[in-house]
Symmetry: C2
Subunit: 359 residues, 2 copies
C-alpha cells in the first residue's frame, strides 16, 4: 500500500467528462482564445464573487504580469515571505525589481512586524503568500500597504477556495495571483493560472500582455511575450470548478481526521481555524530526517516545502532578509498526504504510522 503524496491519475468517470470537453474543442478547432476562456473567467468571477479575472499561462505569469504594472527598476524593492515556492521571488526579479525577504510566523505566513521593519523608501510592494492554504493576516497587510502607499499582491496559488471572513483571498490586495497547474486544488492538465485585478484599469492594461502586447483591436500597443492560457486548460478548469467544493471538503475532512487522531507528543501540526488544505504540514523539532525515513518505510511519501528558506538559495544569498523563524521552521516541517483521492484506509494508515513513531 504505497501512499503517494499526490496522485494525479484521473478515474474513469472524470476522464470521460474531461475527454468530452477536449473532444468538443477538437470538433470546433479551437485551441487558443475563444469564448471558452471568457466563459471560464466569468465562472471564476462568480465563484470568487469578484471581477476582472484573466486566465493566464501559469501562476508564474500571473505574478509577473501583476508586478509588470509597477514598472519596477533594479533598486525598487518588493517584500515577500522567506518561505514560499521560489517563483514568488523570481517573478519580482524578472519583472525588474529586487526582492527582500521577510520572516514568517509560526504558521509559515508572512510576519507583519518583519514587513514593517523592512519597509524603506525603496519598497514598492508586498507579496503575501497564503501558504499551504493558511490565510495571512490580510487585514494588517492591507493596513501596512495603505499607510506606506505600497501595492499589495496576494499569491493565492496554494489557497483556491480560501475565504477570509466573507471574501475570497486574492480580492483584498491590488492583485490576486493563482496557479491552477495540475498539482493545485483547482487543477488543469498542465500549466495555467489566473489573475484578479482589483482595479479595472490594471485589468485592461494587462490584457494585451497575455498575447504579445496585442489589444482587442489587434493593434500592437506594448512589448510582451505570450502569457495566455490554452483553451483546453480553460475548458477543463471550468469543468473542474464545478467539482472543486468536493475536493476542498474532502481534503479538510482527511486533514482534520489526521490532526484529531494523531497522539504523538513529538509532533505538532501547523493549522489554522479558517483555511483550505493545499497541504498539511507537521512540525518536529528534532529527528526530522528519521521521521521521514520512518514514514517512507511505511510507504508514505512526504514532502518538505520548503527548505532552505529563500534567502539561503544561491541567487538570493546577498538579498536583504530576516530569517530567524523561517530558518528554524524550514528545518522542522514535513508535509504528509491528504489528497481527496485517499481512502479511509490510507488515512488510518497515515495516522497509525505517525503514532507509532518513537524516536
Amino acid at each position: 500500500m504505497k501512499i503517494p503524496y499526490l496522485n494525479l491519475t484521473i478515474d474513469k468517470d472524470e476522464k470521460s467528462d474531461l475527454i468530452s470537453e477536449i473532444s468538443n474543442l477538437m470538433s470546433k478547432g479551437r485551441f487558443v482564445g475563444g469564448d471558452e476562456i471568457t466563459s471560464y473567467e466569468k465562472a471564476l468571477e462568480k465563484y470568487l464573487n469578484t471581477k476582472n479575472i484573466l486566465g493566464v499561462a501559469s501562476g508564474n505569469s500571473s505574478l509577473y504580469l501583476a508586478l509588470k504594472t509597477l514598472n519596477l527598476k533594479k533598486d525598487d524593492e518588493v517584500i515577500i515571505p522567506n518561505i514560499s515556492w521560489v517563483a514568488t521571488a523570481h517573478a519580482v526579479e524578472i519583472a525588474g525589481g529586487t526582492c527582500v525577504f521577510a520572516d514568517v510566523n509560526d504558521d509559515l505566513t508572512i510576519d507583519c512586524s518583519s514587513v514593517e521593519r523592512l519597509v524603506t523608501d525603496k519598497t514598492k510592494a508586498i507579496i503575501c503568500v497564503h501558504f499551504m492554504g493558511i490565510p495571512c493576516d490580510i487585514e494588517k497587510l492591507v493596513q501596512i500597504s495603505q499607510k506606506k502607499n505600497l501595492k499589495l499582491i496576494e499569491d493565492c496559488s496554494q489557497a483556491f477556495g480560501l475565504k477570509y471572513g466573507e471574501k475570497a483571498v486574492g480580492t483584498f490586495g491590488d492583485f490576486g495571483c493563482y496557479s491552477t497547474n495540475c498539482m493545485k486544488i483547482l487543477a488543469g492538465l498542465g500549466d495555467s493560472g489566473f489573475l484578479i485585478s482589483r482595479n479595472e484599469l490594471d485589468h485592461k492594461r494587462i490584457k494585451p500582455w497575455l498575447y504579445n502586447g496585442v489589444d482587442e483591436n489587434k493593434q500592437v500597443v506594448d512589448i510582451e511575450l505570450c502569457h495566455r492560457i490554452d483553451t483546453i486548460q480553460a475548458a477543463i478548469l471550468k469543468f473542474r470548478l464545478s467539482k472543486v467544493d468536493f475536493i476542498i471538503s474532502q481534503r479538510k475532512s482527511n486533514a482534520l481526521k489526521i490532526i484529531k487522531e494523531t497522539n504523538n507528543n513529538k509532533i505538532a501540526f501547523i493549522d489554522s481555524r479558517e483555511r483550505v488544505y493545499y497541504g498539511l504540514t507537521l512540525m518536529i523539532n528534532e529527528d526530522r530526517a528519521r521521521l521521514i525515513d520512518h514514514l517512507n518505510k511505511y510507504d508514505i511519501e512526504v514532502k518538505v516545502e520548503h527548505e532552505p528558506c529563500l534567502s539561503d538559495l544561491t541567487p538570493y544569498k546577498s538579498h536583504k532578509s530576516e530569517f530567524e523563524n523561517a530558518a528554524k521552521l524550514s528545518k522542522s516541517i514535513v508535509n504528509i498526504p491528504i489528497s481527496e483521492a485517499l481512502s479511509t484506509e490510507n488515512i488510518d494508515h497515515i495516522i497509525q504510522s505517525i503514532n507509532s513513531w518513537n524516536p
Copy 2:
C-alpha cells in the same frame, strides 16, 4: 463554400488517435515533465537530424530563452528583419536588449546588405526569420555573424520541415527557435515550441530556465519564470510529427497548383525553389484592398502578414531601422489559403477567383 484561411477542426480519425494519447496521460496522471517530453525531444532530434532540443511553452519562450544566454543590456542591439510576427522583436526587448530593424528582400527574408550596414559595436546578434517557409540566405548570414563575432538565431516558427541543402533550418545558427502552436505546420493543441542549441553548454544552461531555474538535482541555480511545455502538448506533437510529411507535401502540392494555374498578370507570387508552405503570399502592386474584397466576396478568407512593418509599430517607432522594401512590400502582400485540409474543389475555386479578378 466558405474557404477559411486555416481550419483547425480535427477529423474523426485523428481525433480518436489524439484522444488516445491524452487518455493515456490521464491514466498515468502525467501532465508536467516526464518521459513523454524527452521522447518527443528525441523524436524531433531524429527528424531534424540534430541534437540539443528542448520542448518549451511557446515560440516566444524559445526566442526569449535563446536571447537570455546573451545577457543583453539595454544598449546591446539585435538585428532582426523589419517584417515578422512581432514576437521576434518583443523577445529581444524582454530579454533586455534593443532591436534594430533590417530591410527585407523581395521574398520577405532579411536583406543581408541591410544587416551589414546596421552592424555596429553595439550589435550582439542577428535573428533571421525563415518567413512563410522561405529560407533566408543562411550561408551569408553565418558568414556575417562569424566575421563580426555575432550570435546567429534562426526564427524557424514558420518553417518546420524546411531544409537548406541537406540540413534543417535552425541548425545553422547558434540557436534554432520553433513555434509549434496550433496554427503551425507541426501543430500542438495550444501554445508550445522548441529550441535547438548548437552548443551543448548553452543547452545545459537553458534547461533550468524552463522551470524556475531549478536544475536536475532540484537545486535553484538561477532566476527564471516557467517556460516548460505541457506533457499533453509534447505527446500530441510527437504523434503529429509522424504525420507531418503529409502536411508538408499536401501544402506544397496545393500551393504549386495555385501558382501554376493562376494566369492573372496583375498578380505575382512570392516563392522560392526550396521551401515549405506555411503560407502562400501573393503580391499586388495596387488595389490590394479591392483584391481582398473580391476574394472575400468569393468566400475566400485571406490574411495580410504583416502590415505595417515592425519599425512602424507604436513600441518600435524610435528604433533604428531600414525599411524601404519592407514598407513597400507590407502594403502589397496577401496570403491565401493553402491548408492541407482544402479539397481539390477549394483549390480550383481559389484559382478561378484569382483569375477572374480584373480591377
